[in-house]
């Protein structure tokens, strides 16, 4: 069962140089209890997509268009703002890259996290609320919760603050957690702690997670399914094994080949995707990856390739990949 169904979502920001097309016709679904990884470079539209789901863009000036965006049977596009407010932080929560700027620096952490309960669980008393915060802290592995909840954000380290943010996002038991690069600023040993925490909370409480990152390796052991974004478009999506072991889009292949490791051939150069991501002001009519692609053909510059389902779960938007053979040896 899918819990979130996004169809043909486009987001544009007007600017002096014309419209910036940050997200173009993005369609995907999020299933119950899965961890969906979204990977892309800066400017690929991954954060903008997730923020559009939370309706965090200011409209206008931002232009958000979609066929539909259905969450738990509700159409998010037309949902009145009070109902949307009731969903945010309650049924669908979000965590961000920089926990330091996500919290109010002059308010005790326990009180800030308690605010989520004040707005969503109106009937809860003060005592009950404090107990809930203590329990939430314990759940995310913050030791000494009674002391910690009376402290301010600056008294926490980056990793601990990220745990507090997760506690705050999950205290109302949402069914979807949107995580926007939550481990990017953290060290690898702390990153692993946070990843394991999110996984175990998913296993214990049951929820779906959308995890945005630019680190493809991170998703190998963490995600169930992966979406690959490039220049505002989804170029490929599939189960983890499909993406890593039988990638179809030239961009996905390039990304996988350009990951350095101690076991790569040290004498040979790393594989590199040539060129640079396209200017977001100028969205070409054809495939967004055309300029940098090694397998490009004439039609690629003229038409945007449609999404082809290779298996039930594996979908790719590429003319070369569709015909099968040539794509294999790019």
């Amino acid at each position: 069962m899918n819990i979130l169904d996004v169809s043909k979502l486009s987001v544009g920001f007007p600017s002096r140089k014309g419209m910036i097309h940050a997200v173009n016709d993005v369609s995907f679904q999020l299933f119950d209890n899965e961890i969906l990884g979204i990977i892309g470079e800066s400017g690929s539209g991954k954060s903008v997509t997730v923020k559009a789901i939370m309706r965090l863009h200011r409209i206008p000036p931002t232009v958000v268009k979609a066929e539909h965006m259905i969450f738990e049977g509700k159409e998010l596009l037309t949902l009145p703002e009070p109902e949307m407010t009731a969903l945010r932080g309650n049924r669908i929560s979000m965590i961000f890259q920089n926990p330091m700027s996500a919290f109010n620096p002059i308010m005790r952490l326990g009180d800030q996290i308690g605010e989520v309960l004040i707005s969503h669980k109106a009937r809860m008393g003060r005592k009950e609320r404090e107990e809930a915060v203590v329990q939430a802290f314990e759940e995310v592995g913050i030791t000494n919760p009674h002391v910690r909840m009376r402290q301010y954000p600056y008294e926490f380290s980056g990793g601990m603050l990220q745990r507090a943010m997760i506690a705050s996002a999950l205290i109302a038991r949402p069914s979807v957690l949107l995580a926007d690069e939550p481990t990017t600023g953290l060290d690898v040993t702390i990153q692993e702690q946070i990843l394991q925490l999110i996984r175990s909370l998913r296993d214990r409480n049951g929820m779906s997670v959308v995890f945005i990152t630019h680190d493809l390796s991170l998703l190998a052991g963490f995600a169930d399914r992966i979406i690959i974004m490039y220049a505002g478009c989804i170029v490929e999506q599939g189960l983890v094994d499909e993406i890593f072991y039988s990638p179809l889009h030239p961009y996905t292949k390039g990304l996988l080949l350009s990951i350095p490791s101690a076991s790569s051939d040290r004498e040979a150069d790393l594989f590199q995707i040539k060129g640079q991501p396209p200017d977001p002001h100028e969205r070409a009519a054809g495939c967004p990856f055309y300029e940098r692609c090694d397998a490009r053909r004439k039609e690629c510059s003229l038409f945007r390739p449609a999404e082809i389902a290779v298996t039930e779960t594996h979908k790719v938007s590429c003319f070369a990949a569709g015909s099968g053979k040539e794509a294999a040896d790019v």
């Binding site: 190998a220 052991g221 890593f244 040290r266 640079q276």
Partner: protein, 328 residues
């Protein structure tokens, strides 16, 4: 082969005060670090934030004052303040190319600066010629010269920074997280560029990074830092296949590999807690508080960096026992 750079017992301590009248306390950013870099090789320095790896790089270049120890460059000990001649021979490339280029100057002015400071060009024509030939080597053309930094992407700016640091024809280059801020597809381009320039100019490189995968590919030898100390030094291939120090073992076990089957099957060592504060660090082994093998002995005495097998050094009392143990 000889060592171009030898660091002996390097320490960088900073005094810190909680309040203006309080007793100053000592932050030991780098504490008794020793290593050496052979000519024409890449030495990778790896560690988490706060481990002191950047401070080591800056102390060598002369951007941070050394509070103890000696750095030998080409056989000679470095003076307290590096002379202009030394600064010409050692260069550094930083993490953030946007922050390291003056936004008000054109690329031509930015690139001419090192040549003028070190008086390397005798005429405008020669200056132009040297700039253009170096620009070509980093994959840029002369059309960039009249533009300002804000007109470029991060990858292009990093190329400009690399160009600028190589204009003085240094022998030794410090790359401080030089690819960390770049997008994945651009990272590979810059890694390849640095590799080819290293070969062309016979550079000796100290490459500082928290990304072990990059070091494993780029570096010949790798040093692992923790809380201001080097806990292990080994050839890159040996360190990735057989880390000896419990910290290196844990660190390597949690670095994500782009292989789902491997990720599902391998055992990860998740360290508890976080790195202690470098202000008044623990007396004994710096890793004591998080080490799964720690004994009473480790709390009292700091283990020295000792050669465990040929070319492989570890600072752990139990390093010999841990050889061949995969469980961490």
């Amino acid at each position: 082969m000889s060592d171009l750079l030898r660091v002996e017992d390097l320490s960088v301590h900073f005094p810190v005060r909680r309040n203006p009248f309080g007793k100053p306390r000592v932050l030991k950013a780098v504490d008794h670090v020793s290593f050496s870099i052979e000519r024409n090789t890449v030495f990778g320095l790896c560690g988490e934030s706060g481990s002191g790896k950047t401070t080591v790089g800056k102390a060598i270049i002369g951007l941070k004052r050394r509070t103890g120890g000696t750095v030998f460059f080409d056989g000679e000990p470095l003076p307290e303040r590096n002379s202009r001649e030394l600064r010409k021979r050692m260069q550094i490339i930083f993490q953030d190319p946007v922050g390291s280029l003056n936004p008000q100057k054109t690329i031509r002015e930015l690139l001419a600066e090192p040549l003028r400071i070190h008086r390397l060009a005798f005429s405008r024509d020669e200056e132009e010629e040297r700039i253009l030939s170096m620009l070509e080597k980093v994959g840029l053309g002369k059309e960039v010269l009249c533009r300002h930094p804000h007109e470029f992407s991060g990858g292009q700016l990093q190329r400009i920074c690399i160009c600028r640091s190589l204009l003085t024809e240094p022998e030794f280059l410090v790359c401080d997280e030089s690819i960390a801020s770049l997008d994945v597809s651009i990272q590979a381009q810059i890694i390849n560029l640095l590799r080819s320039l290293k070969r062309e100019f016979n550079l000796t490189v100290l490459f500082i990074s928290h990304n072990f995968a990059v070091l494993g590919y780029l570096a010949d030898r790798i040093g692992v830092m923790y809380l201001g100390s080097i806990v292990e030094v080994a050839p890159a291939s040996e360190l990735s296949s057989e880390p000896l120090h419990p910290y290196s073992k844990a660190l390597l076990s949690v670095i994500p590999q782009p292989d789902p089957r491997l990720e599902r099957s391998r055992k990860k060592i998740v360290l508890e807690g976080e790195m202690p504060s470098p202000i008044d660090p623990p007396e004994g082994c710096p890793f004591f508080s998080r080490c799964p093998f720690a004994e009473e002995h480790c709390r009292q005495e700091k283990p020295a960096l000792e050669e465990v097998s040929s070319g492989h050094y570890a600072a752990c009392f139990k390093a010999k026992e841990l050889i061949g143990r995969k469980d961490g």
